[in-house]
Subunit: 144 residues, 2 copies
């Protein structure tokens, strides 16, 4: 079942941060079909490129965690809706680390070829993250 493969991929690669494990899950190329705000939006990556993306996206929020809400499977794809949270431990888009918890929600469709993931289409509520970054940075400055 592609569903189970996807859940293991999310857990090992994104939740535990084991970028090397991606080699078990992704196809020889991985395309980001749609992911507004993602620096790799519209790009096709090889395994090394994909691992770099995982490491760079996880670095400022190393304890980030995707909590799956719903999961759907059909033909060659699996869709998930998710809540995400993690601690802001390194600079993000010019906002210095505050150590505070960030929360976001989103939905992703993963495309498969056989047992391997060939890419994704994703929407995240990135506005809410900027609102939290601004608010946390303002309350940090008030304390100083």
């Amino acid at each position: 079942m592609k569903k189970n493969i996807l859940l293991k991929f999310i857990q090992q690669v994104w939740n535990e941060g084991n970028a090397d494990a991606a080699s078990e899950y992704i196809a020889s190329t991985y395309t980001i079909y749609h992911d507004p705000g993602d620096p790799w939006d519209d790009m096709t990556l090889d395994l090394e490129g994909f691992k770099t993306r995982v490491l760079k996206l996880r670095a400022p929020i190393p304890d980030q965690y995707f909590e799956i809400q719903e999961i759907f499977e059909k033909d060659n794809c699996v869709a998930i809706t998710w809540l995400w949270h993690g601690s802001h431990l390194r600079e993000i888009a010019d906002y210095p680390a505050t150590g505070k918890r960030l929360r976001m929600s989103g939905a992703t469709v993963y495309y498969f070829e056989g047992k391997h993931i060939t890419g994704h289409w994703q929407i995240t509520d990135r506005l809410s993250v900027y609102q939290q970054l601004r608010q946390n940075s303002a309350s940090q400055k008030e304390k100083e």
Copy 2:
């Protein structure tokens, strides 16, 4: 098939703006479980409340259209990913109408009880809409 019911609902109620047609599709109550930025987020509406929501959300962008990308069905729910576009013809969040095209993408899970929709969980890339509103309003001012 719940999938077909949902596609008719989207077409008639949201794309054609026939709010009255909602009575055929929604249950006696409709809950917005999660929809960051939606003024009715976290609320449970009756039929009249739901129609009001449709009319208010469609009013500033009366030709708005949801173009379905993927559709998934399981148990009691249907998930869709979509691209949305429409012309900005009345004020939105203090941004005066420019007549310009707005575009957004999103994903929605609709929950069913039998043939009726009982609510939804939704993510939209609302940041991109604010970016377009700001940009359109700035280029309008430059012309004046």
